[in-house]
Subunit: 388 residues, 4 copies
Amino acid sequence: MVDIDSRKLRLAMVGGGPGAGIARAHRSAAFMDGEYELVAGAFSSDPAKSKAMAKPLYIDPARAYGSWQEMLETENKLPADKRPDAVSIVTPNHMHYGPAKMALELGFHVIMDKPITVTLEEALDLRETVKKTGRVLALTHPYASCATAKLARDMIKAGHIGKVRKVVVEYPQGWLYRLFEAEKGNKAAAWRTDPKLAGSGSVGDIGTHAANLSETITGLKITSVAADVGTIVEGRLAALARWEGGVRGSVQASQVSTGEGNGLDIRVYGDKAGLHWRHEDLDFLTLIYQDKPAERWHRNTDWANAISPSAARVSRCYAYHPEGYLEEFANVYYNAAMAIRCVEAGRTPGELDLDFPNVEDGIRGLAFVQACLESSRNNSAWTDIIRY
Amino acid sequence: MVDIDSRKLRLAMVGGGPGAGIARAHRSAAFMDGEYELVAGAFSSDPAKSKAMAKPLYIDPARAYGSWQEMLETENKLPADKRPDAVSIVTPNHMHYGPAKMALELGFHVIMDKPITVTLEEALDLRETVKKTGRVLALTHPYASCATAKLARDMIKAGHIGKVRKVVVEYPQGWLYRLFEAEKGNKAAAWRTDPKLAGSGSVGDIGTHAANLSETITGLKITSVAADVGTIVEGRLAALARWEGGVRGSVQASQVSTGEGNGLDIRVYGDKAGLHWRHEDLDFLTLIYQDKPAERWHRNTDWANAISPSAARVSRCYAYHPEGYLEEFANVYYNAAMAIRCVEAGRTPGELDLDFPNVEDGIRGLAFVQACLESSRNNSAWTDIIRY
Amino acid sequence: MVDIDSRKLRLAMVGGGPGAGIARAHRSAAFMDGEYELVAGAFSSDPAKSKAMAKPLYIDPARAYGSWQEMLETENKLPADKRPDAVSIVTPNHMHYGPAKMALELGFHVIMDKPITVTLEEALDLRETVKKTGRVLALTHPYASCATAKLARDMIKAGHIGKVRKVVVEYPQGWLYRLFEAEKGNKAAAWRTDPKLAGSGSVGDIGTHAANLSETITGLKITSVAADVGTIVEGRLAALARWEGGVRGSVQASQVSTGEGNGLDIRVYGDKAGLHWRHEDLDFLTLIYQDKPAERWHRNTDWANAISPSAARVSRCYAYHPEGYLEEFANVYYNAAMAIRCVEAGRTPGELDLDFPNVEDGIRGLAFVQACLESSRNNSAWTDIIRY
Amino acid sequence: MVDIDSRKLRLAMVGGGPGAGIARAHRSAAFMDGEYELVAGAFSSDPAKSKAMAKPLYIDPARAYGSWQEMLETENKLPADKRPDAVSIVTPNHMHYGPAKMALELGFHVIMDKPITVTLEEALDLRETVKKTGRVLALTHPYASCATAKLARDMIKAGHIGKVRKVVVEYPQGWLYRLFEAEKGNKAAAWRTDPKLAGSGSVGDIGTHAANLSETITGLKITSVAADVGTIVEGRLAALARWEGGVRGSVQASQVSTGEGNGLDIRVYGDKAGLHWRHEDLDFLTLIYQDKPAERWHRNTDWANAISPSAARVSRCYAYHPEGYLEEFANVYYNAAMAIRCVEAGRTPGELDLDFPNVEDGIRGLAFVQACLESSRNNSAWTDIIRY
């Protein structure tokens, strides 16, 4: 029998039918480094649609299912040289919990889109399930997973900007600037703007990315927020925020910032320097100083790699050759693969192997959303984020 | 006798001794368009220092005074062909009110640095004095006076971005990132960080620029704030804000954002487009859309001038030839000169002549500061800005 | 038996041993869209090193060879359900011709790194071989293959900038600024700076990218050059150039532009507008006008896709979500896969399928190098580029 | 009698009638630092038009003349406390030589727009006249006079980028993209495109700016060119060039680069670093390295001023507060004023006082144009620039 380190990991997918853009990103990410092969899928709840995906994805049509329950049950019984190692979950938010729970309990590793679940209870339950089963659960927060976000984190950890004082993080998008949810056929808009399905509009959909990015890069948890959650067309978040250690600043996210594409942007100010990262320029970090010229750092340079082995590891391209959005997802898939291989082979995963967002990040995100909504209901009163 | 339209306006200056950077900006601004000549000054409270400025400024040493009271009294008695028309006040904040009040009452026009005064009572009193005397009072908010800010305002007024929904305005600086006020010789830092002299730290010093810019460009008043005024080294402001018409957003200002130079930046989102202006790129406006490519507008192009005669009027350089900070001050001085000429000649100033910040902007600024400080004391509770 | 459209294409690789960066890009590109699986390789001329690559690439060690001749011969004899469909050639320049020639003659399709060969004779021979065998030969000019380069080409074709008048294309890099070739272990520098192995230094290495980009985007061939090929450390090219239709401009490339990363940049001016593309910002095109504001076009927007189905087809990520260098290679691999599938299934490939650089581009590149070197030897005299 | 250091310099202007944009720039530049007052003018060859300028410029109508000869003769006879010190020449190119020659011979200092004259003979004659009269002649090359160009020059002189190897300088504009000269009323286009009046189209008009900038910043003279002077609509220059010390590169200029505003841009590469300056971003220099992050230098920072006292002296605004095109002209006027004061007071001007373009730069410019035109006529053969 081929040992786990001599073969690709086998992946089954939940969600990702025709036209699902995010599923395409997950698949490219899984394939890009040659670590995974796709072997099965419950691509749609419509069995015909699910089957139809088998051909363009070059998988066995017999392994394309009309329900994730059926897929997990059937695939679980396959012999060891066929059974999937991991399940990738790319369904709308309200269908994250079910397949994740079942997959973990059957012994599959899980790589899933964020938010982890719609409710905190579900997320806390997944935490227990992960603990109980010992499986890997990776959450695709792509932005905080890119090489320069890892570099930023490691530069701050190493003291390059001094003691952190202030954080300004923003995530403006514009695509919901009109009532797209009223328009037929915009499925992506439809479930995202239905609170029962998505959780909490923009706060949950992209506010959690902004919050997660700030916590990842600074290494500091947000402790409380004074939030204003607006309802122009749909949710929009503006929050004053405090992080551990007396750090102050703001977190903003919106999907009605007309004209904005995907403008995630963070600035962190320490007592020695400021650091600026923005997603549209994701190969670079800008470091600004009061006592010398501003610097533009590119990932995968000798000087960046000397500070951040984590960033070096996930830099596929030479310095000054752009990387993109798919690579961010691929960073999660790659490190998760390394962790899964360790778990399967009985080795302890290293720190670099575990450098991906996990169930704790998922719980933090939901607690952040909870606090924002509560603050907004209470006239933007400062509200603590509960540590679960 | 030479009529007012056939000669330069005569200007006396209060403040602006050796090394005063802002006074140099005021003088260049006054001179640039050939509308003013400097004839007198109370450049320093030290008579010798004041006298010493006469030579490099090429004015009559007899007209350099050691006190502004003395200057105003003496110069006021000069014959009509020598007496100054206007007084420029460039002293630290706590010395704005006195000379402004006296100058107006003696019949001089006033061009003064912001904030208008340290207290609201003083500002309200100046409003009455202006009303009573019929003199021109211009306040140098340079940023909101640049050509592209006027263009932005006129584009929004003309409907180019649709109904305004959201505003994000920020003003990060870094120069107080260390306890400069503790260092000898940094006079600029010293008075700015002494609340008795400056009013209210960064909130008053630069927060008012941010607030004023947002009100000028959108044409909407800020109605309430939920503010967090921090004390890292000195004042720092982060506020959720609401503008007239249900517009929401945020206002942030800081002088401890290490590495930042003078990063005033505003984004306004309407239901048709978004608009982005930033001071480091002050010849351009960026318009962003969901349904067509983003556009970069330069001031003084045919298409910009067709929308904004106000911007066209103060564009001294061809399109694509940069303008700067001095031109922003000069825009205030130029329009004020036009208004002064009208008043002196008995004409009614036109709308373009009056396109400069005035006593009302000064009062708005102080009311904004008042509300921010009150909100911050009340755990960032939403606090209305009083309309005086 | 599984038909060609229901399975991944099987790929064998020549070159790409440990540490070969460009091979990693080729593999990620081949895998990214799920169109290829790697089944064999002659990764190194050292059989042990070649074998060692089998494990991290998860291929059968029996199919890792110490010579490409051995690989091609052995793999060619495998049964139809195992035999590779295509060969990817990622060796240094002087080892392109041999494996390409042999692979084509054995009936394999070929995807190969540029320059196609070291000599024109070899390239012309490959042209004949392609014609004779009917196989697909794709050449990885990544830059001209990115979505926005395709968009630029299609916008120019559709008249968006009017009649082309002027072209300025540049490719500055800095990595050879010191005599890296003298340093041990810098294998990439070593062969690139040895004219026998690389062909012609920077002219061939990156000058051909610049020339190819200009011809691809404008749709016009370069007809003559007046070139200065310098020898600071190594080759450096500056050339005045003329394109078909009386277009004039310049082509520059250098690997000793200290501090430059990978700054490929082209500006094309027509009689209606100018167009600017630069590789460090590869998701955007800038269109500039004399009679309206400049525009920033992002790939994969509705308005861009309406102009360029070719660009739309290779845009994997949503607009405003960055793509990168790997995607550029993947665009070649993807379209080549579509063409290969057609050829294998007896269908005629469509225009979009064939949208990748081919043997003609390779020949053009070598003719360009030839003319530049000749012009430079002749005191930069204008020299025609021969049409082979 | 008031000594020269206690009064403004008196300036007379040749040219600058209604609508003359460049004259406005000269006047703002002269006024900005308070060093000059305008006292007379031959603003137009139409006496009525010239008189009409007296009122908006607030000068004595008696001193507005219909011919420069009349003005120079009349003003020269005024008593010492009225007679102008200097003459500013802002006429079209073919009217530079006459008034400059006469003004110098009458003992006036001269500040004049470029190109110095239309022919080399005239320029060489002015050199002799300057030598003979001992008067100051300053030439307004604004771009090379801005603070960051001075900083760039002083950084290179101090070795910050090592030994210079390569230069790429470009000056694209688009405003002549259509046959504006055929349109009535575009006076600026009319004389610029008439070779008898302007000298040599774009080569002389903006090519000389590019060449001058490269020589100023690098401190190295251009020794030879291989040039292609095109005639799309009007002149356009592309030239391979060699500078002293074996430096190679290119110089390009065009006024038909549709959509370009005023894109003067230079990159200089040394053996340690590269330096990038562009006019649209004139407060910054970018330094790029192979062994550390790129740096953005702003003028008037402590670290910049430590390297360049020349740049520090002409930085009117704080760091990170933009300067513009007018300040560039003002830098010439300011330093010229310092030099004039020295000459008048019998002091030897210091190095900083003389830091402005002069008659030698004018001659260099014409020699550059001469060589470009000759090279272009000779099929772009390498042609030496004659040192006069």
